[in-house]
Amino acid sequence: MFNGIGITIAQMLCSTALAIIISLIFGLMRLSSNRLILGIATVYIEFFRGTSLLIQLYWIYYVLPLLINISLEAFYAGFIALGLNFGAYGAEIVRGSIQAVPRQQWEAAKSLNMSPILLMRRIIIPQTFPHLLPPFSNLLVELLKATALVSLISVTDLFFMSKVFNQTYWMSLQVFGTALIIYYILARFFLTPFLRWLEILAARKVGKLIG
C-alpha cells in the first residue's frame, strides 16, 4: 500500500508539471491574434475538455503506441493523459486570469515602451497569480482524484494496490475505506494547505494583502 501511495504522488507530480506547461502554452495561444495559433489552441482545448479523461487514457495507452509504433509504459501513458487533459482546463484558467488584468496595465507598460515579452513576463504574468491560484488549486485537487484512473491501465498506484488487497483478503470495507481516507488525507492535509500557502504568498507578493 505504501508503494501505491508513492506511485500516486509520483503520478500527481509528473502530471502537474506537464499540466502547468500545457496550460501556459495553450493559455497564451488562446490570446493570440493570429487565427491559426488561436485555432490550434481552441481545437486542443475543446477536444480534451469535450471527451472523457478515461477515454483519452485508454486511447493513449492502447491505441497510440500501435499507431506510431512505440512502446509506452503504463506509468508514462498515465501521467501524459492526465497532464494533457488537465492542461486543457488549466489553459482556460490562464487565459481568464490574463484577461482579468486591467487593460490599463498593458497601456502603462506600453507607454514605458516595454517589449511584448517584457510586458508579459514582468507586468502581466505576476499579476495573474492571485486570480489564477484559487481555480488552479481546485483543479489540482481534481487532478489528485483523477490519478486513481491510472490504476485502470494497471499502474500500481494506491487504488490499484487496494484492488489487489481486496481480491486477496476480501475485506472491502477496510481496504477501500482506507484508500478513501488516504486520498482524503492527501487532499485535505497536504495538497490544500500547500496551495493555500501559495495563494497567500502570491497575494502578498502582488502587494494586495500586506500587513
Binding site: 490599463q104 497601456e107 507607454s111 515602451n113 516595454m114 502587494g207
Partner: protein, 265 residues
C-alpha cells in the same frame, strides 16, 4: 509630404490631418496640431470631444486611421518604405516610443512592484541603464515629487495623490521629450489635487518640459499653459493663449462650455 515646412518650423510634435474612428463614430476629424519644444499645451472641452484620444494617438496606444503624426519632423505613426509612407510596424514604433511619456487618469502603477521598482523597471529593461544608474535617477525624481520616503511601499498603500506623483516620476525616468498628462487629477480626492498640480507646475517652470495636458482644471490650465486648445466634436474649435481663450473667447461653443463649467464651480 511637406518636408520643407517641417524644417522651417520644426515643431516637436505635429499632427497632420489625423482622423480616428471607432466604428461609425469619428472621434478625431482631420486634426492639425503643432506643439513646439518646451511648450505647455492644454486641451479642454466637453467629454467625448476627442481630447484623450489625441494623447492616446501620440502615445501610439491607438492605431491611426488617416493622417500622420510627426515627432521631431520624422513620422511616428508611419515609416518610409520604398519612398512612400506606410503604417509603422511595432519595431518602428518601439524605436521611438520612449521619446514620449504618459501619466494616466487612473495612475496605472504596477501593483506588484514597489514605488522604486515601478520607476526603474523600464529604464533598466527598455533603455538598458545599469541598475544603480537607474536607481540613482529614480531616487532623484522621487525626491523631486516628494515621494522618496515611500520608495519601498507598494502602490496599494499610497493615496491617490501619492500614486499619481509616483506615476509622474515613473514617466520622467524614461527622459521623454514630450510628457502627456491625461486628466491626471480627475480620479483624485479634492484635498490631494493640489499636491499633484504643484509637481506639474514645478516641471513646467523649473524643467521646461514639453507637455500636452488634457484637463478639467480650468484655473490650472489658465495659470500654467502657453496655449489652450478647445476641442469640440473631434476638432479644435478654438486655440490661443490662455488669456484669449478664458477672457475673450471668440467661438460660440467655447463661450457656452466655459460658462457652463465656471457656473458649475
Amino acid at each position: 509630404m511637406d518636408n520643407k515646412e517641417n524644417i522651417k518650423h520644426e515643431p516637436l510634435v505635429r499632427f497632420h490631418e489625423v482622423t480616428k474612428r471607432y466604428g461609425s463614430l469619428t472621434v478625431l476629424d482631420k486634426l492639425n496640431l503643432d506643439i513646439q519644444a518646451n511648450e505647455m499645451v492644454s486641451i479642454i472641452g466637453p467629454s467625448g470631444s476627442g481630447k484623450t484620444t489625441v494623447l492616446r494617438m501620440l502615445m501610439t496606444l491607438e492605431m491611426i486611421d488617416e493622417g500622420v503624426i510627426y515627432l521631431e519632423g520624422k513620422p511616428l505613426t508611419h515609416m518610409e518604405s520604398n519612398g512612400s509612407l506606410v503604417l509603422a510596424d511595432e519595431k518602428h514604433i518601439r524605436s521611438i516610443r520612449s521619446n514620449i511619456g504618459m501619466v494616466f487618469q487612473q495612475f496605472n502603477l504596477f501593483p506588484h512592484m514597489t514605488v522604486l521598482q515601478n520607476c526603474v523597471e523600464a529604464p533598466i529593461n527598455v533603455l538598458g541603464l545599469k541598475p544603480d544608474e537607474a536607481e540613482e535617477r529614480a531616487i532623484d525624481l522621487l525626491g523631486m515629487v516628494g515621494m522618496l520616503d515611500k520608495k519601498d511601499e507598494h502602490p496599494s498603500r499610497l493615496s491617490g495623490g501619492q500614486q499619481q506623483r509616483v506615476a509622474i516620476a515613473r514617466a520622467l525616468a524614461m527622459r521623454p521629450k514630450v510628457m502627456l498628462l491625461d486628466e491626471v487629477t480627475s480620479a483624485l480626492d479634492p484635498e490631494v489635487i493640489g499636491e499633484v498640480l504643484s509637481v506639474i507646475r514645478k516641471l513646467n517652470s523649473e524643467h521646461n518640459l514639453t507637455m500636452l495636458m488634457v484637463t478639467h482644471q480650468m484655473g490650472f490650465a489658465r495659470e500654467v499653459s502657453d496655449r489652450v486648445c478647445f476641442f469640440y466634436e473631434g476638432k479644435i474649435a478654438e486655440q490661443g493663449p490662455p488669456s484669449q481663450i478664458f477672457e475673450a473667447p471668440k467661438n460660440e461653443r467655447t463661450k457656452q462650455f466655459l460658462s457652463a463649467v465656471l457656473n458649475a464651480n
